[in-house]
Amino acid sequence: MMAAEELAPAPAGLQVMRPGRESTASWPLIDRAGYWLCWAAGIALCLIALAIVVFMFVKGISYLRPNLLVQSPAPSIQENQAGGFFDPIVGTLILTAIGIVIAAPIGVALAAWLSEYGRPAGLARAVESAVEIIAGVPSVVLAIFGLLIFSQSFLGFLSENAADGAVTGQSFITAGAIMALLALPLIVGAAREGLTQVPDRMREASYALGKTRATTIRRVLLPAIRPNIAGGVVLGMGRIVGDTAIVIILLGLTATKTEPVGSVPVFNVLRGTGSTLTSYVYYNSPAGEGNAHEKAYAAAFVLLMIVLALNFAVTRITGGRKKANGGGRLLLRRLRPGWSK
């Protein structure tokens, strides 16, 4: 995009001959066709997005009732007695929190190791491609891999077990752990991008002050790339909130939260199965068993609102920086208070 902005007023010689933008009138027909196809593609994308948002708004506003947000789902054939989706909203929040709590520290640590240490080089290359492979593995494959791992009996304490003692492997904890894999590549990518943007003289200055690499990472680099990490985390949250396959496989397709019998209350909710907004929508769509279209629309609308909010957050976090960050200058300004400490 930068390049385009530079190209538009340049080159100076052309500007003398043809003031303003180059007109397409002089182009051969086929070139002009390409030009208009580009416009068509851009406008088509806008129209599709507009259609989706307007459609979901209309459906959402007409079916969303305040009590849907605070009622728990109830098993009922009658749609008006089947309750709302309070539990799925809570489930989405719990799952996102677990996923991010696991993925954020690991992701940042991996990025720091890759950018700052990365020895031996072969190992670094392997880890790099491992992260890329995780990003490429379909979430449904991650999900059934998770089921395989977490239904081992020695990991049975993480999930609610069936009456006959068989380990189901389904719980908020297990689903959250696999969700973390979904967010991990995004966080690693964002943090690494930030680390490559930090100029080397920062590191050199820190070493010159007698700081070790570890201290430099912790005190200089991580504070400097905080917006990048935040951006990656929010992107990861978007992925987790929107994923359905992992939820229906590792959290079950039950509508409410279930708690296994036990003593520790919080841990028990996490060990139990449950639902999220995505699985609620799936369950109530024609593909699922609930088949309550109005509720599916209402829940999908809430889901879309959450995604839009996260989108907005990403734009605020990363976009604001990009605009003023001409060649890392803002990054420097941001760093300066840290230096005087």
Binding site: M1, A3, E6, L7, A10, P11, L14, E22, W27, D31, G34, Y35, C38, A41, G42, L45, A49, I52, F55, M56, I106, A109, L110, W113, L123, A126, V127, A130, E132, I133, I134, G136, V137, P138, V140, V141, I144, F145, L148, Y207, G210, T212, R213, A214, G242, D243, T244, A245, I249, T278, V281, Y282, S285, A287, L304, V307, L308, N311, V314, T315
Partner: protein, 336 residues
């Protein structure tokens, strides 16, 4: 300054303080753990999948019989007469994956290349400022929402207005045409993967050195030709990488496809002409999601893990292809 501190700083410069070494080892161990995790995933999935491949041999990938009936037999624990409990001929599902993925990727490739050119070269600032969030929005919409819109809003439209009675009767003894079909799957899949491709291709186009384009313009080449001959050509490896990434997404899409593809293990036949587009399909990933309730049943689990193994291998190959494509981009010293 105490002598110890000075000594420490010297050692720090040499990169050898105990705490630092510990930190490196800790982070390195974490990195190794990631590797182990990936290896464990590949190994466990393959071990779990092996009985299915072993029981069926190479004809696992072939076609034969009704794949839906084979899966139902596993689900109910009653093997089809004359066959083992693991009997499966997965070609209809593989075909379902291929025939949804490739057209969707081709459509997305064309649209996203044009949109990326528009975004980087032609769009006025105001339009660009709207298009940016629009693309992020399209990328962020959860697949289940795409699926819901497809099945509740678009499928009835196709069923009532596009499929003619003649088309319905022409195939009525093989398959029933409902709105959820191949066309819907391809279109929605294309919409889902376009944004990520636009983002990647636009980034590559933007990183083409502007001096190259100016050089072309100085030779009197118009802007469109400059874009095609200089920018697109330079960004070609990135376009390949973006396509590969999008293909991976499309292969792995389970939820949306399980909602809109019709979910019938039917070998949609391109020779049926236009009707082909209205025939139902059933991709691999969608099948895993739909049949996941049967993962506690032995033969079913082996079969589903075999599907997962096929997807895993495809995803790994695509990752590798994307990496290889990007290598040639590095030659120009371009990071994208």
């Amino acid at each position: 300054m105490p002598a110890g501190a000075a000594h420490r700083s010297v050692r720090a410069r040499l990169g050898g303080v105990g705490g630092d070494r510990r930190a490196e080892r800790l982070l390195g161990a974490l990195a190794v753990a990631t590797l182990v995790l990936i290896a464990a995933m590949a190994v466990t999935v393959f071990i779990k999948a092996w009985p299915s491949f072993q029981a069926n041999g190479l004809s696992w990938f072939g076609s034969g019989g009704n794949v839906d009936a084979q899966l139902r037999a596993m689900d109910e624990g009653m093997p089809l007469p004359g066959h083992s409990a693991l009997y499966i001929r997965a070609w209809p599902l593989i075909w379902g994956t291929i025939i949804t993925t490739i057209p969707a990727v081709l459509i997305a490739l064309a649209v996203s290349t044009l949109a990326a050119i528009f975004l980087t070269e032609f769009a006025p600032d105001a339009v660009r400022r709207t298009l940016d969030p629009v693309i992020r929005l399209l990328a962020g919409v959860p697949s289940v929402v795409y699926g819901l819109i497809g099945i509740l809003a678009l499928a009835p439209l196709i069923e009532n207005h596009l499929i003619s009675e003649a088309q319905r009767t022409s195939v009525h003894f093989v398959v029933q045409l409902e709105g959820a079909d191949l066309m819907l799957a391809i279109v929605i899949l294309a919409v889902m993967i376009t944004p990520i491709m636009v983002a990647l291709i636009a980034a590559a186009l933007a990183s083409v050195p502007s001096a190259w384009k100016e050089g072309s313009a100085a030779l009197g080449v118009n802007r469109w030709r400059t874009i095609v001959r200089v920018s697109l050509r330079t960004a070609r490896p990135a376009i390949v990488a973006a396509t590969v990434l999008a293909t991976g997404r499309a292969l792995g899409e389970a939820i949306m496809l399980s909602m809109v593809s019709g979910s019938r293990g039917f070998l949609a036949n391109p020779l049926d002409g236009i009707t082909f587009l209205y025939e139902p399909v059933r991709p691999l990933a969608a099948t895993i999601a739909q049949e996941s309730g049967g993962l506690t049943i032995g033969p079913m689990a082996h079969t589903l893990y075999a599907f997962a193994a096929v997807l895993l291998v495809s995803a790994a190959l695509l990752s590798f292809a994307g990496w290889a494509a990007k290598q040639s981009l590095k030659r120009y010293g371009i990071r994208a």
